[in-house]
């Protein structure tokens, strides 16, 4: 017998944990759709299997509710807090780093 004795079915539970994320960030950010409208953060924290593309906008102005458009903002966080981001993640062109 070489197979695992059991494989507890918690993969989906682990996937669900992705939605817990962090709520306080050094800079305000909103998860937006391709039109720049606010969508729930879960869309940016999990891979979208529907083919829709979501991303965070850092800064900018909006009503702050789902469906509101964000005016301004940047796709990469600013380094105002002495922290710069976006220094990784340019390599894959969306294909991912696994093989």
């Amino acid at each position: 017998m070489r197979k695992s004795k059991e494989v507890p079915l918690t993969v989906l539970a682990a996937l669900a944990l992705f939605v817990t994320g962090c709520h306080e960030t050094p800079e305000s950010r909103n998860c937006v759709d391709e039109q720049g409208r606010i969508v729930p953060d879960t869309n940016c924290q999990a891979y979208s299997s529907t083919g829709a593309h979501y991303h965070y906008l850092y800064g900018g102005a909006s009503g702050g509710h789902v469906g509101d458009a964000v005016v301004g903002g940047s796709a990469t966080p600013s380094s105002s807090s002495g922290v710069s981001r976006g220094g990784f993640g340019g390599g894959s062109g969306g294909e991912g780093g696994g093989e």
Binding site: R2, S4, V7, Y47, V83, F88, G91, G98
Partner: protein, 375 residues
């Protein structure tokens, strides 16, 4: 080894999605997880594959020593800035989790095709999806697959060595996201606290000279499904090098020696005519008539060209990149399906296998995953 065709389970898509494999179908609508067939092995064949995997791992360890003792990183096109850190981590042995050997096996000879040592995927399929398939379809048969147990056990071993939480960095594809989610799951089952983070969200705090998460908390343990050659080529590459030691990067940077396809030529040099190796060279195809040209940093079949009778027959040649020239292997082919065995190692020990099928000779990211069993 023998390929059987079989009726897929009713509602197989929903069934495999429930156990985590949501990317079961390719963009063209054909199955990626393909349970319309399975491969059957004998226990003796699995014994051979397991022993071959362990033996190749031994040879890879010797090759690592050789590469450093004989200063061969430059020849492998590994950036010189990484050399000191590779040497240091090779000796200090920080945590390393897993890897996957791609093997050619035609029922007679086993040959190493390459070692995906840094960022292997197709793990959920191998560890979970095919395990549940076996439970459903052939509960009395066995499977070469103790991946889940071994991953959880390895994470348990690492509990004293890793600062909590352990961050899991991912980027891009759904496949990578699933792999990272599953590895998080195994780490959590072992007692680790885990946090996912997109690679582009990793922050560098200048004042503290440290990596931080989105809450500006320092990151000290980071599993990244993102190859070292990409990390080093990007803006934060120098910070990654600087942080080694303060951050436990998994896989460690020395894995650049094994995931680089120059390893294949170095192994052949160290173990000429070894039964588990194919002739492979860095300086050209030499005396090979049927061979495969692979970029040293190629990924998922990209840039791979198959030559038969010295003529390029399949694949795309990438000009101007360093390559290894490896003799064409004899692969298992049934009904037009070419099978490659992905033989997994966890903590350096054989841990199971997954089989990918392609219509041509080159495996790539659309090669179908077909389950296996043995009796």
């Amino acid at each position: 080894m023998r390929r059987h065709t079989i009726a897929p389970r009713k509602h197989w898509q929903a069934t495999v999605a429930r156990t985590g494999l949501t990317c079961h179908t390719l963009d063209d609508g054909t199955p990626y997880w393909d349970e319309s067939a399975y491969w059957e092995f004998s226990a003796a064949e699995v014994d051979r594959l397991e022993a071959a995997t362990a033996q190749i791992q031994e040879m890879a360890l010797a090759a690592g020593d050789h590469i450093l003792d004989h200063n061969r990183l430059e020849e492998m096109k590994i950036p010189s800035a990484a050399a000191a850190r590779i040497r240091e981590t090779w000796n200090s042995e920080p945590p390393a989790l897993y890897g996957r050997l791609d093997l050619a096996y035609d029922g007679r000879q086993i040959k190493l095709l390459e070692y995906n040592a840094d960022t292997p995927t197709a793990l959920v399929e191998a560890a979970v999806t095919q395990w549940y398939w076996l439970e459903d379809c052939f509960p009395k048969a066995d499977q070469f697959n103790s991946l889940h147990e071994k991953l959880v056990a390895k994470w348990q071993d690492l509990l004293p060595y890793l600062q909590q939480p352990v961050y899991f960095g991912h980027d891009g594809s759904e496949e990578d996201f699933l792999t990272v989610s599953y590895l998080r799951d195994t780490a959590q089952q072992a007692g680790h606290k885990t946090v996912p983070i997109a690679m582009h969200d990793l922050g560098w705090e200048t004042a503290g000279a440290r990596f931080v998460d989105l809450d500006c908390k320092p990151i000290q343990s980071l599993f990244k499904l993102y190859p070292w050659e990409w990390l080093l080529g990007e803006e934060f590459g120098p910070h990654a090098l600087e942080s080694i030691g303060a951050v436990n990067w998994m896989e460690p940077i020395w894995k650049m020696m094994w995931s680089n396809k120059a390893l294949l030529a170095i192994l052949w040099e160290l173990y000429p005519n070894h039964e588990l190796l194919l002739p492979a060279y860095l300086d050209g195809s030499r005396n090979l008539q049927d061979y495969v040209k692979k970029p040293l940093y190629g990924r998922e079949g990209e840039g791979v060209t198959v030559f038969r009778n010295w003529v390029a027959e399949e694949g795309d040649t990438e000009e101007g990149v360093a390559c290894v020239y490896q003799k064409l292997a004899s692969l298992a082919v049934e009904e037009g399906n070419t099978a490659v065995i992905g033989s997994w190692l966890v903590d350096g020990e054989p841990a199971g296998m997954g089989i990918r099928e392609s219509s041509g000779t080159i495996s790539n990211n659309t090669s179908r995953f077909v389950p296996h069993l043995f009796r």
